[in-house]
């Protein structure tokens, strides 16, 4: 169940990465041309976010 929730969140973030420049009505080729994916890498080196570190 936990993995399902995590995977769903990751799927949502992937969908958020898809952007559209605009909607050009009947000019579907333009709308398609203006669809892109925006990705941000990590701002710095990181361990796994759930890497153990607190509460022995």
């Amino acid at each position: 169940m936990k993995n399902q929730t995590k995977n769903k969140q990751e799927e949502i973030s992937r969908k958020d990465a898809i952007k559209k420049i605009g909607n050009y009505g009947k000019y579907a080729a333009l709308t398609a041309l203006g669809t892109y994916v925006l990705l941000n890498s990590k701002k710095a080196q990181a361990a796994s976010p759930d890497n153990p570190g607190v509460g022995f």
């Binding site: 993995n3 990465a17 420049i21 203006g34 892109y36 925006l38 080196q45 990181a46 361990a47 890497n51």
Partner: protein, 374 residues
Amino acid sequence: MNQILIKEVASKSIVWFENSNQYLILENAAAEIVAHLYCDKSIEEIAEDLEKKLSIPYEKAVDFVIDINEQIIKPNKVKKITPIHNSEFTIPTSFEFIKYYKINQKILKVAFSNEFELSLIHPKFAHLEVEHTENVHFYFQIFNKDNYTYLVLDNELIGSWVKKEIHYFQGKFSMKIIECIYEKIEEKWMGVFHASAINHQENSMLILGDSGNGKSTSLALLQAHGFHCIADDFVPIDHQKNVHAFPAGISIKKNSLPILLDYYPELNTSAEYHYKRLNKTVRYLPPKDINYKKSYPCVGLIFIKYDANTEFECKEISKLEAFQNLIPDSWISSIPENVTVFLDWFSELTCYQLTYSKNEFMIEKVKQLFGNDL
């Protein structure tokens, strides 16, 4: 400053912007428009080309080019500055815990001001601990002030982090270890990947996947079947595209123990760490035969997932799908020369999705994948 880089991969274009350090996957024709706008070609001229190319009205083409200019070019003309927490601090005069670690013939002394900081670092490096010595190469001091954890190396402040960003503290500490043991500053590294890395003879592959999907367990199984573990969770690749060893222990969750005890009976008596906040119990398995002198070109990415409902399934996946999974979870150097290396390296990789519950099939497949790339 303000460079863009464009690389064609799998019939689309990956565009990188220096100012924002962002990657965009664009249609090739859209990337061409971006490139033209960056070179100050006029909107009218670009729109004329587009009008002919797509057989659309000129006005629509102009609208499109203006939209790209507004939404992609202009936001990237300004460099994004990340605010840095800056406050006066004094290094404590005494520390509760002092540890010495030997890594690649170098002694790293690490002083922790309390148990919280110790718990962030020591479990993964405990197998590298040695006795007190005066012959220290690098001295780390880790302490807490005003809810920030500070990292100092040889009396120079590296950074400070709040609790919710503590995985960045751990990452920076690991990065500093890499810089120290290989005598290569950060600028000489292409990236650090949230993956496990294995090699077979001269080549390596990265094993990736969402947390909890079985990367570390797969790594331990592969190590027990003739593969060599280079790194777990934190894989440094230098600007010459070589994967280097990172000696942190392989984290083994409690529910993976039954599978691994036959191969690693020492896990029976390994220290167990229970993390209340994460509700998980972990032991660390020291990687075998770490060789700091060797580094390996990486020829492929394997996105792995343990799934009790799938006996075994492996397929090659599109590079662009792999790219979308790789980038958000990775630190890539933002130096343009290193980004060029990264994009060149990535464009040559083969990427696979491997889902399994039968260990022997997974192991056999990974052997085959190495065979394909040799």
